[in-house]
Amino acid sequence: MLTASAVNAQQSGNLSFLVDNGPQSVAVAEAWVAAFTEQNPDVSIDMEIRPGGGDGDNIVKTRLATGSMADVFFYNSGSLFQALNPTQNLLPLTNEPFQANIQDSFKSVVSAGGEVYGAPFAPAMGGGIFYNKPLYEELGLEIPKSWDEFMANNEKIKAAGKTAVIQTYGETWTSQLFVLADFYNVLAAEPDFAEKYTNNEAKFATSPAALRGFEKLQEVFEAGYLNADFGAATYPDGLRMVATGEGAHYPMLTFGIGAIQETVPDHINDVGFFAQPGDSADSNGLTTWMPDSIYVAKSTANPDLAKAFVAFIASPEGCDIRNEAVGATGPYMIAGCELPADVPPAVSDMLPYFQEGGNNAPALEFLSPIKGPALEQITVEVGSGIRSAADGAALYDEDVRKQAQQLGLAGW
């Protein structure tokens, strides 16, 4: 670390740094830029902001294709990263000294053609269910280990006159969690599902384990557990409702902890987290998401400075700055990065799944390059009773076929 800092201190020049417009991303990026330029007074870094979602994907791809990408930029890892054509557009970071501290599981989702191209931008995430702790205490509920226990809890919450499950289809991406976060349970039942799915041999509609995710979505709707405004509510509404006890459960990725901390900080200690339960209490585990990553564009005019900045972000010092700026939201993928002692309960609830002997499995998008783009519309339909689970799964298989063909995969 000492040598790395010594090298940093000699840097000079200009960099541009592109991040998405999420409040978390902007806040932490500003903190990193401030700290790095303080240590290197001869360096100036221009921050650029882009939208998230599909519009952001197109901005990133267009800028890469036209050679006008910022020197350092932030983007997804896994299947979306592969679509950037990394070997052509990105600077390899395989032999940078900082890579020695980064976990192999992360490197695997930012690698192409034998080279590593990224460094983690954030901690790892889990996909599961946020719950309101005071409501659980008030009603004397236990953390559910199986789907039946979860539904029994929901029944008690509904009987007490509360909203059992929060859904926020006003922002359609939030509707996918019951399907995506169920993947640990899919793998428990069919360990080779991801491989067969990529090879056009396994389908959501015909695999009973994979179909369960869609069925769960349908079950919570049909039981009448959802909030009255589920069709129009948005992601911030959902986080607020689960934090303040307006609703008991909100299926979401754990990065939501950061947003809760920011928008309803008084209630951060009222939110807990558990993995999405499967059919059997014996195999209970968490579906995990690798963090997004930072990359260096091949078109950069100042590769050494860009690499030094990435090394700074992927160092324990970078993690500390992140904790300071937006709080800790999960375990880091970088050796030497520690979580503060007083993490929010939702973070400490997810840690056991990551520790030695814990049960976790990566989400499907990190095991397969194929993720159909219309999943969020289909899950909205299944989750609001417009379409049955079986129909929805069959429709999603069609969507997946289109994606695979567009990627030019063999066997489709």
């Binding site: 979602g53 519009d55 289809y169 069709g231 289109k402 567009q406």
Partner: protein, 302 residues
């Protein structure tokens, strides 16, 4: 497209001599360059890219596969139906309401000038702004519309979240926003009708209703043709308002051809979405060219 080209060649011989005397040929060069660079080149490029699998980084020629895939889109048929329903509903209502408002605003009523500007005002506001505003007003539990209905004891529907209603809710907002323009076109058409016809009708003892049916309605046909053509094309291409209010949802309930195309583009299927644009271009041509010819022929008979 064909109609205008034919029309243009028909006109050229008559203008030829006058044009040559006024301006030398190179005078048109800047316009020709701008037209080629900004219109012809992209048009032919998009025809080419619609035949490729295109990732922005490289394009693989795959023949007509994109068109085959586009027509296999599960929601294309529903999107087509939605597009046509939307175009018919919005242009129909704009004709009826625009006519009614124009008749009212050309009669001797109090505060006529003020009312004219009120009716026209929504035309001036940004479409996306209107969409976002109405999304808030139409929220199923906290929106002003349903809260107002609740005060008189009616439980309002989920305007934008009920799959049976969403498309029509957006269409109503489109009418609210666009009817001002239709009204202005009609006002222009109505004041151009010579007063003699009304005086002759008055001498014959015509009632107000007969005045409207036998004088106003037939003589405002050019205005009607303009309003129908403009709002029908606008309805077929509709995208911004749908996207701002429902993003084609809930699920796929209010998807139009344009939003289906945009979703392909968002998913990174650039060749596929380009193929969709070619299809939309042809579709608009197929529907609008006969419609325009029909409306213009009627007009000629008058």
């Amino acid at each position: 497209m064909t109609a205008t080209t034919l029309g243009a060649t028909g006109v050229v011989p008559a203008l030829k001599t006058r044009r040559r005397s006024a301006y030398p040929g190179w005078f048109f060069l800047p316009a020709a360059i701008i037209y080629s660079v900004l219109f012809l080149a992209p048009t032919f490029a998009s025809l080419y890219f619609s035949l490729t699998r295109w990732t922005l980084f490289d394009a693989t020629f795959i023949g007509l596969d994109n068109f085959a895939q586009f027509f296999r889109e599960p929601f294309l048929i529903q999107g087509l139906v939605n597009t046509i329903v939307y175009a018919v509903v919005t242009s129909g209502l704009k004709v009826i309401l625009g006519m009614a408002l124009a008749v009212m605003l050309t009669s001797q009523i109090v505060a006529r000038g003020y009312l004219r500007s009120v009716i026209f005002f929504p035309v001036l506001v940004s479409t996306v702004g209107v969409g976002i505003t109405f999304t808030v007003l139409m929220h199923p539990t906290a929106g002003a519309i349903n809260e107002t209905l609740a005060m008189i004891g009616i439980k309002g529907p989920g305007w934008l979240v009920d799959p049976r209603l969403a498309l029509y809710s957006v269409a109503m907002v489109d009418v609210w926003k666009g009817v001002g323009l239709a009204t202005v076109i009609y006002i222009a058409g109505l004041v151009a009708i010579p007063r003699d016809y009304y005086e002759a009708a008055r001498i014959d003892g015509a009632t107000k209703w007969q005045n409207f049916i036998y004088v106003t309605l037939p003589l405002s046909r050019p205005a009607t043709a303009t309003v129908i053509t403009l709002s029908f094309i606008g309805g077929l291409r509709t995208f911004d308002l749908i996207w701002a209010m429902t993003k084609g949802g809930p699920g796929f309930a209010s998807d139009t051809v344009a939003s289906v195309i945009y979703k392909q583009y968002q998913a990174g299927f650039y060749g596929l979405s380009t193929a969709g644009n070619v299809v939309l271009f042809v579709l608009i041509g197929i529907l609008v060219v006969p419609l325009t010819m029909f409306l213009n022929r009627k007009q000629g008979h008058e």
